[in-house]
């Protein structure tokens, strides 16, 4: 019980502490010493939080669940660790500290760094809460808090563009959350309890009485939570909000925070039960939306010249791979989806950090300007290349495993049209993925004969930046080399143990 609570409330308290303690911007002569103290504190807080979360996962104390307190008699704040939660928590625990260390260097020249770290820690705690939530109310609580605590990260630079992007993020997310809340009100009426149970919690009598309306409710909830996961038609916030955030924050947003939408979707499927939804118009409509998003996201990324924006569109597309796997609703595709959560998480974090390193060192934001970048920052670009291969789905990487399962699941599903159409679109999108990621590698390493080698400088970033990138890249390959470990965890997740 205590590791769980600590992993949630310690970072929240720490974040609030940083916000209050360093409320005035660092300046003057003492700026450097003050900054060191701030970084040391933040670093400790990040490591301690991660340690608490790992402890919570390893000790298994949360398996049985516990009620923290009751908002009202029927609304308990309830925590329980199940295997799906474990999987998502794993991603957060790895990505957040590394991206945090990366920001120590990246944020050097930014104003009001403490505000950034404060909300970063808040978001960390909230993410842990989201992963460990045991019922829909608790989940919804942290879901809203996640939006609110990550919004200041988007707005951090304070430029008009960033503020508008932050507001757009906020309103899209809230719109989705409220659509989901609409569903929660009705679920509350038609379920015995809102605790997550495998295989559906709807009362049989309720299904018989107004099953048609419950399907509408399910669809509204899937759409609502889908906003966070950047699903068409509510994806527009993502390519606006992610690129304007500082690079490490975009890494976290793109690799972890949007996954909250995926986790939410899994929870919703769990509440309604796949048996209730399989073969209904909800499934068909949902699959169509995800496939549109997969293709559209890739296509938009392919056309996008600004590097970070390109990565954001790529996130839109990749997240719908996961949603597609869930929408097919069989075990194989679900394995693929959960695998892709990890694979995409590590890869996208690594890619965003690479992009951040390039921007930090050279100030270049467009892909077209980055000719010869591989000569200046070889290690960074190697990481970029390897991570890219993971996203495209080339064999030894994690992306290959997940896409394999996704395609297999879809072919086995026996759905009309979509069993074949699905894999075809996934493949097309993979082709486009190669098309939008690899040019950087190609032009970076092979700038052409007319490239001016004379003015070339070594610009490799410092260890604080390159080590997180390296580790994340290696992880993205490792999960492809040893898929058994991941697959067995995921199997547990599917069987609901």
């Amino acid at each position: 019980m205590f590791p769980i609570l600590l992993s949630i409330f310690f970072p929240i308290a720490a974040g609030v502490f940083l916000l209050i303690r360093y409320r005035t911007p660092l300046s003057g002569e003492k700026r450097n010493t003050d900054r060191k103290a701030l970084l040391l504190l933040t670093g400790c807080f990040l490591v301690i939080t991660a340690a608490f979360a790992v402890a919570a996962l390893l000790t298994g104390t949360g398996k049985d669940g516990f009620i923290l307190f009751n908002l009202t008699k029927t609304l308990p704040v309830y925590f329980r660790i199940d295997s799906v939660g474990t999987l998502f928590s794993l991603l957060a625990v790895i990505v957040l500290p590394f991206a945090g260390f990366f920001s120590f260097e990246y944020m050097k020249h930014e104003e009001r760094e403490s505000r950034y770290y404060g909300f970063y820690l808040l978001a960390f705690g909230v993410l842990n809460g989201l992963c460990f939530a045991g019922n829909l109310i608790t989940f919804y609580l942290f879901f809203e808090l996640l939006t609110l605590s990550s919004m200041p990260l988007v707005m951090h630079s304070g430029s008009k563009e960033a503020v508008m992007a932050g507001l757009k993020y906020l309103f899209y997310s809230l719109c989705g959350a409220y659509a989901a809340l609409f569903g929660i009100y009705f679920l509350y009426r038609n379920c015995d309890s809102l605790t997550f149970t495998a295989g559906g919690a709807l009362r049989a009598s309720a299904v018989a009485e107004h099953g048609g309306f419950l399907l509408v409710t399910a669809f509204v909830m899937l759409l609502g939570f889908g906003v966070k996961a950047g699903m068409f038609p509510m994806h527009a916030w993502l390519p606006t909000a992610h690129p304007v955030a500082p690079a490490p924050a975009s890494a976290v947003l793109s690799s972890v925070i949007v996954k909250a939408g995926v986790l939410a979707t899994i929870r919703v499927l769990g509440m309604f039960g796949t048996n209730f939804l399989r073969g209904t118009w909800v499934q068909t409509a949902w699959i169509i939306l995800t496939l549109i998003t997969v293709f559209m996201g890739s296509l938009l990324a392919y056309r996008e010249p600004v590097l970070k924006k390109r990565l954001a569109y790529s996130t839109v597309s990749q997240l719908s791979y996961i949603l597609f796997g869930l929408a097919v609703m069989n075990e194989t595709s679900r394995t693929g989806a959960l695998c892709h959560v990890l694979a995409h998480g590590f890869v996208k974090a690594a890619l965003f950090l690479c992009a951040g390193a390039i921007i930090y060192k050279t100030g270049k934001t467009r892909v077209g300007e980055m000719r010869g970048i591989g000569k200046e920052m070889p290690l960074t670009l190697w990481c970029w290349t390897i991570a890219s291969l993971g996203l495209i789905g080339i064999p030894p990487t994690g992306g290959f495993v997940s896409k394999w399962y996704l395609a297999l699941g879809s072919l086995k599903s026996g759905l009309p049209v979509f069993d074949v159409l699905g894999p075809v679109i996934l493949l097309l999108s993979a082709l486009l993925t190669a098309g939008y990621l690899l040019p950087l590698t190609i032009y970076g390493f092979f700038p052409g004969a007319d490239y001016d080698y004379g003015s070339l400088q070594k610009k490799e970033p410092c260890k604080l930046m390159i080590v997180p990138i390296l580790i994340l890249t290696i992880l993205s390959v490792l999960i492809g080399l040893f898929p058994d470990i991941i697959a067995s965890t995921i199997d547990m997740a599917i069987t609901g143990r």
Partner: protein, 487 residues
């Protein structure tokens, strides 16, 4: 004793201009002590209430002025008496910059007594009497600054309220003629023998009386007086136009619906559909206007319009759960809105800025005020863990439970309104904390948080917002027993 709590504010109010105080603090101490004492007295009365009715005057037949404490009066009187001392404390500081203080405090304190009169009234006639009186004693408060704008606003307020009361009067007559008594009895007092064959007329009168009382509760299309009345000093806007006056309207509607006409008579009729549709429209309308509004206090006033209709929405679901939702929001919204209004007032008092675009960058200069404003904004949006979530949860669950598709549409209205609330509240917060990259901080150099008289009420209300959000069981249980007619 029940008459005492109404009389003390009257006497105090009249004494304020009459006693020649040497120093300002003496007046403050005198006022604050009597108000606090009166509040303690009210709470004592509520906690040790008996079922007996106190008869003050008897006219003819069954017409009399009398008082009684029942569940509804406990909710409203308890709420008003809890907020008044804090608002008075706040007013001391706020009024240092305004003129005619004595007149202000005279009417301000009078209003306390009148509101308690509405809350404690035992029958429709008594409530109606105090309801009219409330209009009269609050008009001078709206007019306070005596600018042309203020005079116009108060005139509008007067006409609207009196006009509304005239419609409400029709309802009163109907209850006198067709009811067995005018006393408030849970479940209604209409006599089936007398009403036979007159159902439609009575329903029409109900709708008219609803709209009549609805004027004070700012139901669309009778809402335009409320934003205009925002010219009054902030303690008035915060306490009267977010709690006491407007909630008297909501309170009167609940009395009329549950205690006079009775839900058995109204439920499932066209009258219910009509009033529910009006209320749903007002919810969305108020919010949309708030988004458009650029004046801080007026924006909050539009937000009040929308939130008052949340309460009415709960009331017109006409089930016990609906009433629970209505009462929860009646109390919780009072705390949230008075909190945000006081923040707005603190900003106006400290900086003399009234428009939202002038608030850029103030967040770092007044961190406490804007921190609290953020919390109240989140609560109004309905973020879980704060008060607003619980009241919306109760309202929505009641609507789901009622099984009427119109009420389900109402849930959608609530959620649309929640989104709009986020837009009009959080844009203010974002402005205050993210003023833009090239913002010139020298324009806000001398601005700081107000002193303790303003901050204390804010802190107390914030604590209650959080407390209600995480632990509302006892108070919701109490509402349950009120809604079951047990208290």
């Amino acid at each position: 004793m029940i008459i005492l709590v109404i009389l003390i504010p009257f006497i105090t109010g009249i004494l304020v201009p009459a006693i020649p105080f040497r120093k300002r603090w003496q007046k403050e101490v005198f006022l604050e002590t009597t108000v606090v004492l009166n509040s303690i007295l009210v709470w004592y009365l509520l906690l040790h209430h008996s079922d007996s009715t106190f008869l003050l005057a008897h006219f003819t037949g069954n017409l009399n002025i009398s008082f009684r404490v029942d569940g509804m009066s406990m909710v409203f009187a308890g709420l008003v008496s809890a907020l008044w001392p804090f608002a008075t404390l706040y007013a001391f500081e706020y009024m240092t910059k305004e003129k005619h203080e004595n007149v202000f405090f005279l009417f301000y304190t009078l209003t306390y007594g009148v509101t308690l009169g509405i809350a404690l009234a035992a029958n429709l006639l008594t409530m109606y009497f105090f309801y009219e009186l409330l209009t009269l004693v609050t008009v001078p408060l709206v007019m306070h600054t005596l600018t042309r704008e203020a005079v116009l606003a108060s005139r509008k307020y007067l006409y609207y309220s009196l006009g509304g009361a005239a419609f409400a009067f029709l309802g009163l007559i109907m209850v006198i003629v067709y009811g067995s008594t005018t006393d408030f009895i849970f479940g209604g007092v209409l006599d089936p023998a007398k009403t036979a064959g007159k159902t439609n007329v009575l329903l029409l009168i109900y709708v008219m009386a609803f709209m009549g009382f609805g004027v004070k509760a700012a139901v669309c299309p009778f809402n335009s007086w409320l934003p205009q009345a925002g010219v009054a000093p902030t303690p008035v806007t915060a306490l009267l136009h977010a709690v006491a006056v407007v909630k008297s309207g909501a309170f009167a509607i609940i009395r009329l619906t549950y205690y006079s006409f009775g839900t058995d008579f109204l439920k499932g009729t066209w009258a219910q559909d009509v009033v529910m549709a009006v209320v749903m429209f007002t919810i969305v309308y108020g919010c949309s206007r708030a988004v458009k509004e650029t004046h801080l206090k007026r924006r909050l006033a539009y937000s009040t319009i929308s939130n008052l209709s949340y309460i009415l929405f709960g009331a017109v679901i006409m089930t016990p759960l609906g009433l629970v939702g209505a009462l929860t929001h009646l109390v919780f919204h009072a705390v949230m809105k008075i909190c945000s209004f006081f923040c707005a007032g603190a900003v106006m008092h400290q900086t003399d800025r009234h428009y939202i675009h002038e608030l850029n960058g103030l967040g770092y200069k007044m961190p406490r005020v804007f921190g609290i404003f953020t919390i109240s904004a989140l609560a109004l949006m309905g973020v879980p863990g704060l008060a607003g979530f619980i009241s919306k949860w109760n309202l929505a669950c009641a609507a789901v439970e009622s099984g009427s598709p119109l009420a389900w549409g109402g849930i959608a209205c609530l959620l649309v309104s929640a989104l709009l609330t986020a837009i009009y509240m959080l844009t203010i917060v974002v402005r205050a904390f993210f003023p833009g990259k090239d913002f010139d901080y020298s324009t806000v150099l001398d601005i700081r948080d107000p002193n303790w008289k303003m901050l204390l009420p804010l802190f107390v209300f914030t604590i209650f917002i959080i407390l209600f959000g995480v632990y509302s069981q006892p108070i919701v249980d109490f509402f349950m027993s009120v809604a079951a007619g047990a208290v």
